[in-house]
């Protein structure tokens, strides 16, 4: 798609069209060919590009077959997805097998007056609860606060980790931190499970 601008469009007007392109998730580059300024829209859907005609400084849109040929002419690559789908079927089969062999049971009726001697939590909740249990009961909130801060650090990792190091060997410290956290998580899970 070529966007033809009016003769004598100023730099500001061209920049406005480029901004509009970006707003519509399109990409374009200015073509300096003399005469009328042109913008070659290199990616994005034609339907969205047509709306550029609403701008005063845009005179015409000339469709090109370049991107269409590139997409349509691309080969079909189903092999990876066939393998992936086979994997998914296996996973689903395993889940059905688990559901049959280890069905989720029905518990006993609620006795709100007499708490059980121990309450067993599911595996994913054991580690945080065991961590909080390390604090005295009156300071349990402090345990949750520490967990929240740790979760915040993990959440904002892309912002905190600005290093350009790519390989595992260069990022040994982060891998070591991850392994330590994993071991800690496993220990807390097992200790809460054994309690």
């Amino acid at each position: 798609m070529i966007v033809v601008l009016r003769q004598g469009s100023t730099e500001e007007e061209i920049a406005e069209v480029l901004r509009d392109l970006e707003r519509r998730s399109l990409r374009g580059r200015i073509v300096h060919a003399g005469g009328k300024p042109l913008i070659h829209v290199t990616s994005g859907s034609t339907r969205r590009a047509r709306r550029l005609l609403r701008l005063d400084q845009v005179e015409a849109l000339v469709p090109t077959s370049g991107p269409r040929v590139r997409v349509e002419g691309r080969r079909f690559y189903p092999y990876y997805f066939v393998n992936l789908c086979a994997g998914f079927v296996l996973v689903l089969g395993l889940l059905v097998l688990l559901a049959g062999q280890l069905p989720s049971g029905m518990g006993v009726e609620i006795d709100a007056q007499h708490p059980p001697s121990e309450t067993q939590f599911p595996w994913y909740a054991r580690a945080p609860l065991a961590f909080v249990a390390l604090f005295p009961e009156s300071l349990a909130w402090l345990g949750w606060l520490v967990l929240l801060v740790l979760a915040g650090v993990v959440f904002f990792l892309p912002t905190l980790d600005r290093s350009q190091r790519r390989t595992l060997r260069e990022r040994w410290w982060i891998v070591a931190a991850g392994i330590l956290a994993g071991i800690g998580w496993l220990y807390l899970t097992l200790s809460e499970g054994a309690r």
Partner: protein, 205 residues
Amino acid sequence: MAHALWGLLRSPVPPELRTDLAFGLLILVLFLMQVATGILLTLYYQPSPAMVAESVQFIMRDVSWGWLVRGTHHWSAHALIAVCGIHLARSFCLGTYRRLGSATWYASVVVLALLVVLTFSGQILAWDNEAYWRLSRVVRQVESIPAIGRSLARVMRGGDEMGATTLSRTYSAHTMLVPWLVWMLIFLDTWLLVRCLRIRVGGTP
């Protein structure tokens, strides 16, 4: 979504993105399985303390394949947390959050947290002795938070005592509020991954 998946079939998947894509799509498939089995369970489950046990027994014994639907719902929830956790741990160690863009990382972390809430609330819906005391312990810990703890615990319980309102609120959160949030984030995550893939292979984003 169909357009994006069709676009993917037309794209050679670069080897460095294959594992991320496999994890993303596995999470999507497991979540869809959760939704499908969850909808089937809501046809028979009755969220009132007097009827819960009876309705669960009915699902397990009288409904055709009810035991399988409930069991698959249960195990796929656990599998979902495990797969999401492994996916995040892998991204953490290999630093793929920089290659794929930080938005996918943020979405994945929130999805994992919401999945834990979703699965835990699902286990409370059994409303048996174990579920009751589990929730009671969690509410007690929430209550210990200074300033907001008491109000938050009251919102969770739906009053001063745990009872029918607690079950009703847990049911609403489990079936309506949290699944929609998870669905939106998984959709966003998959879309970002697919977009990244299509840009990588030179297609239109």
